[in-house]
């Protein structure tokens, strides 16, 4: 949704500002007919959005006020589920892990992506390099889970290589204390290519003469990045930041793959809010707590919204015209 408002700020501003407040009715025939057609054209999208997104969210909000196993009758709980979340140390851990992924993972991803932008703009065969970088993003997370079991086992290829390089006691990658690191690592690895691809598309649009001018002024590679690349694709960067926020909060298949074992769920220390929701809604051999699950889902939805709004505020710049 944010991308839609982004591509043509002038139009959205007009719509948002409310046409009634601006200009007398019937200012210009074109304007008038545009205004008349606005709802006719947007109604289908609005209806789809309402049915597929707003209604479920509303239903979830309503469910979150009840204790419900999905089968029996709902029991009114008021804000009880939210109180439970507040008191539940596991939810607090989950929230902490979510934020850690969001902030730490995000920083690492974007630092690497920026570094790659620096290199990729100037290198030969950059399209090929970009495809290679993008590739991990196409691979299903489950493949990583299975591959990691082989690659990172105590005598696996990774540790063999490390030993060969002279590390006599390489880490036990798959041990539970490294869970969060492994999850974060995989996430960064898959996401970097994805964001690099988007950012590079923006970089390609920057006219060469700006770089040439900068070079003539004696700017080095980093200065060109700082004063040309960064401001010129700032809008795209801020969209990427929002995309990262939304997607990083949702991951949970990676946690299940790395942390889950044959007979039990991942240790609670590795949970994030999405996994918390999943475990409450689809527990193994116990009663689903759909009220609590939806309450947790709404809390993480609220978290995403809050983060997105703050991020958009911080990253707002006047668009650069060229």
């Amino acid at each position: 949704m944010s991308t839609a408002t982004f591509q043509d700020p002038s139009r959205t501003r007009r719509v948002r500002g409310g046409s009634a407040a601006r200009g007398p009715v019937g200012a210009a025939p074109l304007e008038r007919s545009r205004r008349r057609m606005f709802w006719a054209f947007t109604a289908p999208a609005v209806i789809v959005y309402a049915v597929l997104f707003l209604l479920p969210v509303g239903y979830a909000a309503w469910t979150s006020l009840y204790k419900w196993d999905g089968i029996s009758d709902k029991q009114w709980k008021g804000l009880g589920n939210y109180k439970t979340l507040w008191q539940d140390p596991i939810f607090r851990t989950s929230l902490g892990n979510t934020l850690q992924t969001l902030v730490v993972g995000g920083l690492i991803t974007f630092v690497i992506s920026f570094a790659l932008m620096l290199v990729l703009r100037e290198m030969n065969r950059r399209l090929f390099a970009r495809s290679v970088l993008f590739f991990p993003c196409l691979v299903n997370a489950m493949v990583f889970g299975i591959a990691a079991g082989v690659l990172f086992s105590p005598d696996g290829p990774v540790n063999q290589a490390l030993k060969w390089l002279g590390w006599s006691r390489p880490p036990q990658w798959l041990a539970t204390e490294h869970l969060q690191t492994m999850i974060l690592g995989t996430l960064v690895w898959t996401a970097t290519g994805y964001y690099t691809a988007i950012l590079m598309a923006a970089v390609d649009q920057i006219p060469d003469y700006l770089y040439e001018a900068a070079e003539l002024d004696g700017a080095n590679a980093f200065q060109r990045f700082r004063h040309v690349t960064l401001p010129m694709c700032w809008d795209v960067i801020s969209v990427c930041a929002v995309l990262w926020t939304v997607s990083s909060v949702k991951i949970f298949e990676l946690i299940l793959m790395y942390g889950g074992s044959s007979g039990s769920q991942p240790p609670t220390g590795s949970w994030n809010t999405a996994l918390y929701v999943y475990e409450e809604a689809f527990p193994q051999a116990s009663t689903p707590q759909l009220g609590l699950a939806t309450a947790a889902a709404l809390v993480s939805l609220f978290l995403v919204i809050l983060f997105t709004v703050v991020l958009r505020r911080i990253m707002r710049r006047d668009p650069v015209e060229y």
Partner: protein, 441 residues
């Protein structure tokens, strides 16, 4: 399978969950099961039909055994069976399906799972009528063919009933070893009877540079069996311990003793090295390859390693020394809350328990049946003998589900990996349990 709820379903679970994204609950899948009496059978036979969602996937041996029985059942009675091979996830799907009134008449799962998802909330029908039915051809009542202890150990549904499942497969958990392994036979002439002698056996193996115990370090269920049995040995009921909202039961010295005995395995260096850093089934494979002496697991493990063990292998089985009662996990049929074709489904339950039909669970699927007159596969003969005990108890005394996930797994793994000591483990469990029960109102 790791717990009775299953090893297989994670892929499916992830696929299901991925669709749900941030987790608004979606409703059931599956086709409508309400076909009451729609299909007429041959004239002269009773006819009708019922629907059934199975915990087995179509390619599993149990599914083949059940499918063969269904074919014969339809031929004999004219009752058609609308079966769907759902896999272990059936326990996750059955609740929403019941809510949407699209559930099948009959389903099957581990008794713990049936209880957790349905029976404890009164969503499984009473099957006492089946116990009074006569099994075709064998001419014995169901209650005579299957020992009542299998039901006596089950928790009660809201109406106080225990007959919400008709078991067709039985299992227990315990310590498996290769009696033909010279290191093991040198370390013990007969199975040790108390914990200290077991530790001595471990010492003897350690002296030969052989780890005593193999363990999938990531799995709190199999590794937790040690603690579960040691609690039993020390006279503590796991369910009483877990269900104590005040957590005070954890202060019982017997609990600490069981924890300290478990800790001996960890601190003594008896567990196969690297156990904390591998994924299932790496260590089970090591054990099958003779790299460790003992492995604790459910009795399905013999079927899992069947292709890995050498031909010289000779199965030995014992409970962790000191334990007084074997635990029991059964798999069986249940009826959903609003099942419409009750009589047809019940007829099939009794039909499937026929000796010639049920034997397939032993001969083809390599598992034990609850009927004592069906011999277990050779490698499970000792296990069947253990299950012959007068009284059975449930694994973890029936504790499963949310408590396991939220209180047990993280704390026990920290303990099993040596990050906390016995006293620290007990203290952490106590406090985690108190906050858990606060969130369960």
């Amino acid at each position: 399978m790791g717990s009775t709820t299953g090893r297989g379903p994670r892929l499916l679970a992830i696929a299901t969950a991925a669709v749900l994204a941030v987790g608004v609950s979606a409703c059931s899948s599956g086709k409508s099961a309400d076909k009451a009496g729609a299909a007429g059978g041959d004239s002269g036979k009773s006819g009708g039909s019922f629907s059934y969602w199975s915990m087995w996937r179509k390619d599993e041996p149990q599914a083949k055994v059940i499918q063969a029985a269904i074919d014969q059942f339809t031929a004999d009675t004219g009752i058609k069976v609308d079966v769907e091979w759902t896999g272990r996830d059936v326990s996750k799907k059955i609740g929403p399906a019941m809510a949407a009134n699209k559930a099948p008449d009959m389903w099957d799962q581990g008794a713990d799972s049936i209880y957790g998802t349905a029976a404890q909330n009164g969503n499984a029908q009473d099957l006492s009528a089946v116990l009074d039915m006569t099994i075709p051809n064998d001419n014995v009542k169901v209650s005579a063919a299957i020992p009542s202890k299998y039901w006596d150990s089950l928790p009660k549904d809201p109406k106080g009933g225990q007959h919400w499942v008709i078991p067709y497969e039985a299992s227990t958990a315990g310590v498996f070893y290769n009696a033909a392994d010279p290191d093991v036979s040198a370390a013990m002439s007969s199975a040790p009877t108390d914990w200290d002698s077991f530790i001595k056996v471990c010492d003897a193996l350690k002296a030969k540079n052989k780890p005593c115990v193999a363990s999938e370090g990531e799995d709190s269920w199999t590794n937790g069996l040690w603690f579960d049995y040691l609690l039993n040995a020390n006279g503590v009921n796991f369910a009483d311990l877990a269900n104590d909202k005040s957590g005070a039961t954890w202060d019982n010295p017997a609990v600490l003793k069981a924890a300290q005995q478990t800790e001996q395995l960890v601190k003594g260096g008896y567990i196969i090295p690297t156990y904390t850093a591998t994924k299932y089934p790496a260590q089970q494979t090591n054990w099958a390859g003779g790299k460790a002496g003992f492995l604790i697991n459910g009795s399905w493990v013999t079927a899992e390693v069947a292709k890995q063990i050498p031909s010289t292998w000779k199965y030995g089985f014992m409970l962790p020394p000191g334990a007084t009662q074997p635990d029991s996990m059964t798999f069986g049929f249940a009826l959903t809350k609003n099942a419409k074709n009750v009589s047809q489904a019940e007829k099939f339950m009794a039909y499937f328990l026929q000796k010639k039909t049920l034997s397939g669970i032993s001969t083809e699927a390599g598992n034990i049946t609850p009927r004592t007159d069906i011999p277990a596969p050779a490698e499970l003969a000792d296990v069947q003998k253990t299950l012959g005990a007068d009284k059975l108890r449930l694994t973890f005394d029936g504790v499963a589900g949310d408590w396991n996930t939220k209180v047990w797994t993280q704390n026990y793994l920290d303990f099993w990996h040596g990050k906390t000591d016995a006293a620290g483990f007990v203290a952490k469990m106590k406090s985690a349990q108190v906050s858990f029960w606060k969130t369960q109102s």
